[in-house]
């Protein structure tokens, strides 16, 4: 998380080319101090590598047996690890995809308002508030979703069911509605509100980095403001936008509390996103089941955690790789 200081990003010029001009010829005592200090710094860097490897290793050690337990461990609803994890994966992805569909256009909109549309006296405080909202703890979002939003969304559920339900293909998504509003749709909306500040923060950053000359050239050629945005800002920011979406996806996949607190859990796979009960997400399932503390089930939970870790690692890896690639391209 870069500090929210405008000057900072401006001055952070790459200094990778500067040569190391430290005094190697200094006294022998200084040499010892140098070696100790450099060693400590290196050790700290290696600690980070070790921690990341440690996460993988410990989860693998503890969870390895979770992949092949006797049938009864996987509970009444599944017979094997695959049968146990697939509904959870479906639940994870449904909630995350709903969240992305809602959050992405909205956060691009906010980012554009802040970077290009609003006058500065609106943009600056709004950007500050969005940054603050990124710091609101997830459990508070969950609390708000469970005690407030779910009830407010009941009419929407009924309306969706009545209006869109009868339509052939789309209607599958809007079957019998949840009377309390605690559906995947609600969980997805809460998730969307949670990832909104993150996606907005990154896209705002890349939008505002569009070279001023490109924008002015477009306007001078007679482009309207939207054409200017479409022809200069979006192409320049495309990779940043993609990676922002993927980072948001990573956050949504791994988010625990919002889903745990909002969704009423079931085990039947269906297309109905406003159903009375739906499969929960991997993270939420761990938070709900850990209390049982039966050693076998814990192994299974850790194994599902390993699946989640690898999945989010992959998503984040791709996101960062896309950003890194585009930064190199721009530097050239």
């Amino acid at each position: 998380m870069p500090p929210p200081n405008d000057e900072v990003t401006a001055v952070t010029a790459p200094t990778a080319e500067t040569e190391d001009v430290s005094a190697n010829w200094a006294s022998a005592r200084a040499g010892v101090g140098d070696r100790i200090f450099a060693g400590t710094a290196l050790a700290a860097g290696l600690t980070i590598l070790a921690a990341l490897a440690g996460v993988f290793i410990f989860l693998a050690v503890k969870g390895a047996s979770g992949f092949t337990k006797p049938t009864e461990v996987y509970g009444p609803h599944a017979e094997s690890f695959l049968g146990y994890v697939v509904p959870l994966l479906v639940g994870t992805f449904t909630a995350s995809v709903i969240a992305l569909i809602i959050a992405v256009p909205l956060s691009f909109g906010i980012a554009l308002v802040i970077s290009h549309y609003a006058p500065r006296w609106i943009a600056a405080p709004v950007a500050y508030v969005i940054d603050l909202l990124a710091a609101v703890p997830s459990v508070v979002y969950g609390l708000w979703g469970a005690f407030f939003l779910a009830k407010q969304l009941v009419p929407l559920h009924v309306w969706l069911h009545e209006t869109l339900g009868p339509i052939p293909l789309v209607g599958e998504l809007f079957g019998e509605p949840n009377p309390a509003g605690r559906s995947v749709l609600t969980a997805g909306i809460v998730l969307a509100i949670m990832i909104l500040p993150i996606i907005t923060a990154i896209t705002r950053e890349v939008f505002s980095r569009t070279p001023r000359l490109h924008e002015e050239a477009a306007l001078a050629l007679g482009a309207t403001r939207w054409e200017m945005v479409r022809m200069t800002v979006f192409p320049y920011a495309r990779s940043g936008m993609v990676s922002a979406v993927m980072l948001g996806l990573g956050r949504a996949l791994g988010e625990t509390m919002a889903v745990t607190m909002v969704l009423s859990v079931g085990f039947d796979l269906s297309w109905n996103i406003i159903a009375t009960s739906s499969p929960t997400s991997i993270a939420a399932n761990i938070a709900l089941k850990y209390k049982e503390r039966s050693a076998d089930l814990l192994n299974v939970l850790v194994a599902t955690g390993l699946v989640l870790f690898l999945m989010t690692f992959l998503v984040n890896f791709l996101a960062r790789w896309i950003v890194g690639r585009s930064e190199r391209r721009m530097a050239r």
Binding site: F37, L42, I48, W226, G305, G324
Partner: protein
């Protein structure tokens, strides 16, 4: 003279396209607003009236523009409208969230709420969240004690020593990836680590600190890195020129210059992990008593307490949950504010 007139009559190219009057959006806005108000009077719900009013605005303005300014102008008006609408839609839930927490929370919070724990020694003793506040502060402090030295030293390695080499590049990349680790996975890691060492039923605050530090280290590293990059090389070179060894240059010159930014980054990192729930559920457990010992026994934090109250779901539990959420948000906001102030006070002098 006559030829010029001839040219003027023959070729007439207008350099300006017809445009809507400047007040057009305002006019349409007022119309849409009164349309919405009319619907409201006619007995349509608040939500539907707002939605229909906004739709009216989004349709009428581009249509008018299409008639006068043409397709491109209409598209521009439509997109401008949509972008501002997206903005408005997004602000509603965020404002509602803050309003809810503040209004519901503030009425439950008082001196008693802050100074009693859940543990009752008498039947009519009032309950409060003292134990959870203590737990939150201790566990977060533990996480900071672990992650600040590791994070800052790792950043020093990345910027001052390993600049550009393969290992440093790999670490930078992995730190970026690490910022996206789901918090529950960090909790599972701490859980797996501690139960492998200390046996299956192990529960303690320090486990929570370890899990949180896994989430906190990457934030500290990133912030410190950015700040160290800001320190001008002239300062380092001036120090070397005086014969100062490299480590002393870093400790005496580079770190003090970047101190403000590093402190800001650390404070922001603390505010980020102080609200984590999932990892603490797994390893730090929950208790009704005030536990001051990080290394022994379960410890409740505010987020875990909120979650527990949400599970109970009855009215008094809900009130306690909102109160605790209010305290948590206040702590986070104060930390953010402190971070800003530190940043202002210690901001690197440019010159």
């Amino acid at each position: 003279m006559s030829t010029l007139e001839e040219v003027q009559t023959r070729v007439h190219v207008s350099l300006v396209q017809p445009r809507l009057p400047r007040q057009a959006p305002t006019i349409v806005g007022v119309i849409a607003l009164s349309f919405g108000a009319l619907l409201l009077v006619l007995g349509v719900g608040v939500v539907s009236a707002t939605v229909l009013g906004a739709l009216a605005f989004l349709l009428v303005l581009p249509a008018w523009s299409l008639a006068i300014e043409g397709r491109r102008g209409a598209t521009d008006r439509l997109m401008t409208g949509l972008i501002w609408t997206a903005f408005a839609i997004a602000v509603v839930p965020l404002v509602s969230l803050i309003w809810r927490v503040v209004s519901k929370g503030a009425e439950r919070v008082d001196g008693v709420f802050l100074s009693y724990s859940f543990f009752k020694t008498q039947i009519d003793q009032p309950v409060g969240v003292y134990h959870a506040i203590i737990g939150t502060l201790l566990i977060t402090l533990g996480a900071a004690v672990i992650s600040v030295p590791v994070g800052v030293m790792a950043a020093i390695y990345l910027i001052e020593y390993g600049k550009g080499n393969k290992l440093a590049k790999a670490i930078t990349f992995l730190v970026d990836v690490m910022t996206g680790i789901p918090s529950i996975v960090a909790g599972l890691f701490a859980f797996a680590l501690f139960t492998l060492i200390f046996g299956p039923a192990y529960v303690s605050g320090i486990g929570g600190s370890v899990a949180l530090s896994l989430l906190m280290i990457p934030i500290v590293v990133r912030a410190t890195e950015e700040m160290l990059l800001l320190v001008p090389d002239d300062l380092r070179e001036a120090s070397y020129a005086l014969g100062t060894p490299k480590w002393k240059t870093i400790v005496r010159i580079v770190l003090p210059t970047a101190l403000g930014g590093i402190l800001t980054g650390i404070t922001l990192a603390v505010s980020r992990v102080i609200g984590e729930t999932a990892p603490l559920l797994l390893i730090a457990g929950a208790t009704d008593r005030t536990n001051m010992n990080l290394f022994d026994g379960a410890m409740t934090t505010l987020p875990v307490l909120i979650y527990g109250q949400n599970l109970r779901g009855d009215a008094p539990a809900e009130a306690i949950a909102w109160g605790a959420a209010f305290i948590l948000i206040v702590i986070v906001m104060v930390l953010n504010l402190v971070a800003r102030i530190i940043g202002k006070i210690f901001s690197p002098k440019k010159g």
